[in-house]
């Protein structure tokens, strides 16, 4: 580990409004002063400061930094922001920065640019690097190919320990960011044939060949391996990285455990956003207003039409409602409480699916476990609401109607909430997006139908 990063220059630290200091140094200070200031900010404040500048100012800051420092800075930003800012720069500046980024980040950020912008930058990269990036970009973010990096120790099986030590000595600088716990050993056709724990080099004679020291038949994955496969692999083994090979067994790159952790976290964060109705991808408030409004509205308009179903039930029973207006007071309570119960069931199903504690085919089992809870909680809530109704209105039949309706609708809600995520997953849909609205619509319709239907049946007792 390098010694502490505390700056030695005397830059005034504008704690409150770091974006002002950032801009001032970009315009008036040297690139060293600017980099010193940036590196003493927390990464969160680096992102915050950049996000408060307008496009011209962001460009000034990125141009004022050395390419490697600019690459470091934008690597902390959310991907869409990093790509947007690169797109503001002229092609050679952008290319210089991209060249300083690790290979998986290069692919990610170029993938977020328009094809024209990405091509322009790739044209300015060294041919071999551009070809490598193009290849990495062909993979999705949640495949091994999209997570792998090419920065690894790679040696030939014919090399001796002395050769390896010489190589490390010659290329120490280049390797300074690599994970050097293992080296990957290939044959003359670049096929991965073994893995070498580097610490073993301390114990052996320098004339030994790697072919005799390495661990043969190492575990590897194909570039198309999914995030789930990789999570499973890193769960089962203590590895810090796993090599990626093509169909011929040639070594293409390595996937670090931390890259898999990162993608897993991103998937969870994305599920949360989708379950709350942010379905068009990341929304940051610095994005253009029309984009934010448009994306949110596309979700909201779908919901309006789902809501019409529940409203239609009320329209159908208008006369009953008009005759027993007290029912209108309890309709929102019943729909809201059923929604809450259902959401709890959805959350537990999502959690158990992610932990692998339930399979998407086990719907009957889940349904039974949810109904059990629904019976208990439905009875408790139904009783509570029945008592409230009688206190409000005096008529015990009102209590019976709303109580039975909430009891029944709770059971319906937890049944749907528990089962729908499994159903969606079973048929290849995204449970995070659709579970919420489906649940709410159906439980509202059922809830209103139960209350107003029962009330219609018992109308004479209620008026």
């Amino acid at each position: 580990m390098p010694s502490s990063d505390a700056p030695t220059s005397n830059v005034a630290i504008a704690e409150d409004r770091p974006w002002e200091e950032l801009l001032r140094l970009a315009q008036e200070g040297t690139s060293v002063e600017l980099e010193d200031y940036v590196s003493q900010l927390s990464t969160a404040d680096q992102c915050l400061a950049l996000s408060r500048l307008d496009e011209a100012e962001e460009t000034q800051v990125l141009e004022a930094l050395k390419a490697e420092d600019a690459a470091e800075l934008i690597s902390h930003l959310p991907e869409v922001e990093a790509a947007r800012m690169l797109g503001l720069l002229d092609t050679s500046t952008a290319a210089a920065i991209v060249q300083e980024m690790p290979s998986d980040e290069q692919a990610d950020v170029l993938g977020d640019l328009s094809d024209a912008q990405a091509e322009a930058i790739l044209d300015e990269l060294p041919r071999e690097e551009a070809a490598a990036v193009r290849e990495l970009s062909s993979y999705d973010d949640d495949e091994a190919g999209g997570m792998m990096v090419r920065e690894m120790l790679r040696f030939s099986d014919q090399m001796s320990v002395r050769d390896v030590i010489q190589d490390l000595s010659d290329h120490g600088e280049d390797y300074s960011d690599f994970d050097v716990r293992y080296a990957y050993v290939c044959d003359s056709d670049d096929r991965l044939v073994g893995v070498l724990p580097m610490q073993n080099l301390l114990f052996v004679k320098r004339a030994e060949r790697l072919a005799d020291l390495m661990i043969v038949n190492p575990i590897s994955v194909q570039a198309k391996a999914s995030l789930d496969d990789l999570v499973e692999l890193f769960d089962a083994h203590n590895y810090l990285a796993v090599p990626v090979v093509d169909e011929e067994g040639k070594l293409q790159g390595i996937v670090h455990r931390e890259a898999v952790d990162y993608e897993e976290t991103r998937a969870i964060e994305s599920d949360y956003l989708k379950s709350q109705g942010i379905v068009g991808g990341e929304e940051l408030r610095t994005m253009p207003l029309w984009l934010r409004a448009k994306r949110r509205l596309s979700w909201l308009s779908i919901n309006v039409f789902l809501n019409i179903g529940a409203a239609a039930v009320i329209a159908y029973f208008q006369d009953t409602l008009q005759a027993v207006i007290a029912l209108a007071v309890f309709l929102p309570i019943i729909s809201d409480m059923s929604g809450c119960s259902g959401n709890q069931a959805v959350a537990v199903s999502m959690r158990e699916l992610s932990l692998g504690l339930v399979r998407p085919t086990e719907m009957l089992r889940v349904w039974w476990q949810e109904v059990s809870v629904g019976l208990i909680n439905g009875a408790a809530l139904g009783l509570l609401v029945a008592i409230l109704a009688v206190l409000f209105n005096g008529n015990p039949y009102l209590g019976i109607v709303v109580g039975i309706a909430l009891f029944t609708n709770t059971i319906i809600a937890v049944s749907i909430g528990g089962v729908v995520p499994l159903l969606l997953k079973r048929f290849g849909f995204d449970p995070a997006v659709a579970s919420g609205p489906l649940l709410t619509t159906v439980t509202d319709m059922c809830g209103f139908f139960l209350v107003l239907g029962l009330a219609t049946m018992m109308l004479s007792k209620l008026i």
Copy 2:
């Protein structure tokens, strides 16, 4: 990396019902056969299989495995499950298994047992190990002390390279799971004085002292460092681990990057559960029914009382509602749509808070950015709903009432949704738990008030 883990024994793999095969082998097979079967299951299936057994059967399986294999198996389970199963075993079996676990897991799992059970197990551990575990247990899961492990390479600054190589050679087995990229160098008082990148040992003479080779003044953290501090540190530096020292600078352990990633993911998953009303901790459907029902019900009952507020608004305007019963059809649409808009704003605020792109004090800024979106989407939705009302009922004044109400309530909802998470965080509350219900209650009340209040004002035009 060791060669592939594929089993060599011919165990029949019961794909469909792995818990049956697991039990059969525990009762009839050898511990080697059982371990072979377990290790060829995915970790998800290991958890699933165990969770489908009853308590007596779980005990049989854990007792049939060798202690280190049992430790490996339960390390894949959610913490509460691992602790529960350990609690079922007799103390010496449990202690043997605990001894095989890495130090941070030991602390975690004992922390989830009752004090009596934990003490009984600790008494059976070697004194030094028990003392270490007690110390680790004194920290919260989301502090450096709760995430650190003691398994690291630790050498004296007076040692030579030759001494180190000898030590690695003697203790190779023990160190097989350690992160050996760095060794931590301490003085005679156990104070951390330097860090040594192990690869450097390849290039130097064996007589050199560590004191001359190490990097001095390494970055370290105190045991009380928070998860946020650690996330920031690993964001800013490429380290795979960071040492933990006490107030005197003595080395206590190291925190791995992956431990921090893990806690970060756990925090996000926990936020998701809490935002959906699972607030009493992890819920797994294998937990006792009364526990699941009770925890969910505690949340639901609070919500009933929040709902009473909105219901009271309707009760207050009963007469208007009875006179213009068509309003009842639109009340749920308006409350639901406002809730959706508000939830979108909450999600974006939670996301921006976690990325550090907004500070909890910047409520005015967030409010303005949300109101901008609210004006656009509120106008669009209000218009849509007004058209639906006129199509339904014919009376344009109904359209005006519901349209204005939804327009206004959308703006209210996004304002509250955007600001409440910042407000809660600013004052030390958990935004994940409270944002949802607060939002729903207030927007329901406002929504009903707007519709019914406007309708009352324009009653003559609506009847």
